[in-house]
């Protein structure tokens, strides 16, 4: 509409406009980067576990007495767990997924020690682990009961392994991995017998090994401390937790059950910093945009009060209420736009600096666009109230005010 005279009037009253424009610019730069971080953290928190997480219970057992017999106790424990009503399946599991604790190892596709190494999360399990975690066999076959080695002589690569789909892709790309060899960095060879649907391994945030890169060994541990994964039937998890603790402790034999916990325990702990970051940044975004909105309301109110006579005169000369409201909407739109353009450049500069200083990924343009849109809409909503008050100024103000 009538942009040019509005712009020239605005340029003759720069001080307040510049302050609010700078405020819009800084807000844009901050919230664009905040949106990006929030989106990344949300994605992390909501990444699919791949297992039946809501029904999983983890148990840690610790042998301490001289009479403790590791293999016999494990066998008795698993028999008891599998027979408990409400338990779908149970298996030994050397570590808890998404707990930020576990072991990893390097794997090669060639015996040549100079060949590229792919790191993976190693999980020591028994043949029941697919049912216990709720995973699916994607290719090949499962471990057979007789292939499980309860007391391995060492930590070397066993002759048969199963791997996750992601790991299969890393090692062999789109070619079938079943039947292909893997090597440890000592040149020892194993054969991939099956590929398992992906679940998040020990370190959900890691890049190396990737969060879904897992190699499963059908071996028991060397130590006296061990863990089980128990999958409860829907709705039975919380009832089973104290029951499992009590029943396993009854088996005794110089060992103690150190904890029995739902999988949620680790999810809450592992992702607490991410949730806190999301809450903090969301609060920051709300506060900054509120202050900016107040700044816009304040400046517009000041302009309306300072121009009462001018507005009355415009009404006397034929402006409708809507024309006056539009005037302030356009004025604020121009102001916001100037702030937004400055802010977009600022956001890019800030993101570039962050990227080079902290190796963070660069800010995608979409987030700047999103923040710009949010600020523009918010700004127009904020100015609506003073603008409507301006529209209500009577034309008689033109003759009654000196």
């Amino acid at each position: 509409m009538d942009i040019r005279p509005i712009l020239s009037a605005l340029l003759r009253n720069r001080t307040g406009a510049v302050l609010v424009g700078v405020q819009v610019a800084i807000t844009l730069a901050v919230i664009a980067n905040a949106f990006f971080v929030i989106a990344k953290r949300l994605e992390l928190v909501h990444r699919p576990s791949g297992n039946d997480s809501a029904n999983l219970i983890f148990v840690q057992s610790e042998g301490y007495g001289p009479e403790y017999q590791h293999v016999a106790t494990m066998r008795a424990d698993l028999a008891l767990l599998r027979a408990l009503p409400g338990v779908v399946a149970a298996a030994p599991s050397s570590s808890v997924p998404e707990s930020d604790g576990g072991s990893s190892s390097g794997y090669l596709t060639s015996p040549d020690p100079k060949a590229p190494v792919t790191n993976a999360n190693v999980m020591e399990v028994d043949p029941a682990f697919l049912d216990a975690y709720g995973l699916k066999l994607v290719a090949g076959r499962k471990f057979r009961p007789e292939e499980y080695v309860a007391e391995p002589a060492n930590n070397d690569l066993p002759p048969l392994v199963m791997i996750s789909e992601s790991m299969a892709k890393r090692l062999y790309g789109d070619a079938p991995a079943v039947g292909r060899p893997v090597y440890d960095n000592g040149g020892k060879q194993g054969t991939i017998i099956g590929v398992v649907s992906d679940m998040l391994g020990s370190w959900p945030r890691n890049v190396r090994p990737g969060p879904y890169d897992i190699v499963y060994h059908a071996t028991g541990g060397l130590g006296r401390s061990w863990r089980y994964v128990v999958r409860a039937r829907l709705g039975e998890r919380d009832r089973l937790i104290p029951e499992i603790e009590k029943r396993l402790n009854e088996i005794g034999n110089g060992r103690a059950v150190t904890w029995v916990r739902p999988h949620d325990f680790w999810l809450l702990r592992t992702f607490r910093p991410d949730r806190r970051m999301i809450v903090f940044l969301t609060t920051l975004v709300v506060m900054m945009t509120s202050v900016t909105a107040l700044g816009i309301v304040g400046l517009a109110t000041f302009h309306v009060n300072a121009r009462r006579k001018q507005i009355g005169t415009r009404r006397a000369l034929g402006a409708r209420r809507a024309d006056i409201v539009h005037y302030f909407l356009i004025e604020n739109g121009l102001l916001s736009l100037a702030g937004i353009v400055t802010g977009a450049l600022l956001a890019w500069a800030a993101s570039g600096w962050l990227a080079s200083a902290f190796q963070t990924p660069p800010l995608p343009a979409g987030y700047v666009g999103l923040a710009a849109l949010a600020l523009l809409v918010l700004g127009q909503l904020a100015v609506l109230w003073p603008a409507r008050r301006a529209g209500a100024i009577e034309p008689a103000v033109a003759t009654r005010t000196l």
């Binding site: 005279p5 020239s8 009037a9 003759r12 001018q310 009404r315 006397a316 000369l317 034929g318 033109a398």
Partner: protein
């Protein structure tokens, strides 16, 4: 052109009720130049505001150009102000942030004229008031008389049928006041009906007809006298 019957206006504040107009009756014919005089507080500005649709009357009937304006909505009244009425204020009421050209442009933009037509009208109006060379000056860079001439250009650029002026010379010295009155006379001779409020009987004498307002009523209707200069007068 203008026909007011039994117009009343009351201002109410918490403490007092002011009867600014009581039973005011007045008709103005097309092409007339009417001067309204009266003591301070007698209701002259109130009358002018109602005549110019800046305010509504509380009682009575007002027909402007054959239209009963009392029943019109806010937007319709704004359109009439924009198209049929030109306003000249005692305080000039120029918009300080806009230059001369943009000030004259204000009502034309609300009228929705195309840019080319607006430019032509602005240049013609500024030519008439003798300020064609000052288009890009700000109001603060002009003298009072020049500012009022800009305001007159703004009032006539849309070629209204009806021009209302509330003490247009009240803030000017006598020389400038005379120039403004000459300008208004010229505009009237081209066919525009003018109602002028003034304190100055000297200036009032230059109109066709004088109306005296006292306590919100017309007290003294002087007869329609031929203008001294013998110039042609259009009467509808």
């Amino acid at each position: 052109m203008l026909d007011m019957q039994h117009i009343s206006k009351v201002y109410r504040t918490e403490l007092v009720e002011t009867h600014a107009l009581r039973d005011l009756n007045l008709t103005v014919a097309e092409g007339e130049f009417v001067a309204v005089t009266g003591p301070s507080g007698s209701g002259k500005t109130t009358f002018l505001n109602i005549a110019g649709l800046l305010e509504s009357a509380d009682g009575g009937h007002y027909r402007l150009d054959g239209v009963d304006v009392g029943s019109l909505g806010d937007d319709a009244r704004a359109r009439i102000r924009n198209q049929k009425i030109g306003f000249i204020f005692q305080g000039f009421n120029l918009i300080p942030d806009l230059d001369v050209f943009d000030n004259v442009d204000v009502p034309l933009r609300y009228r929705g004229f195309a840019a080319r037509e607006r430019r032509a009208r602005i240049e013609r109006a500024l030519e008439l008031v003798g300020l064609a060379a000052r288009q890009r000056h700000l109001p603060s860079q002009l003298s009072g008389g020049q500012q009022q001439r800009v305001a007159i250009a703004r009032a006539i650029a849309g070629e209204p049928r009806f021009l209302l002026a509330d003490e247009p010379t009240g803030n000017l010295d006598s020389l400038m006041a005379r120039q403004i009155m000459d300008l208004l006379g010229e505009i009237n001779r081209s066919g525009t009906t003018i109602v002028l409020v003034t304190h100055d009987p000297e200036l009032a004498r230059r109109a066709h007809r004088n109306i005296h307002v006292m306590d919100g009523e017309v007290t003294d209707l002087k007869p329609f006298a031929p203008r001294p200069a013998g110039a042609p007068v259009a009467v509808a």
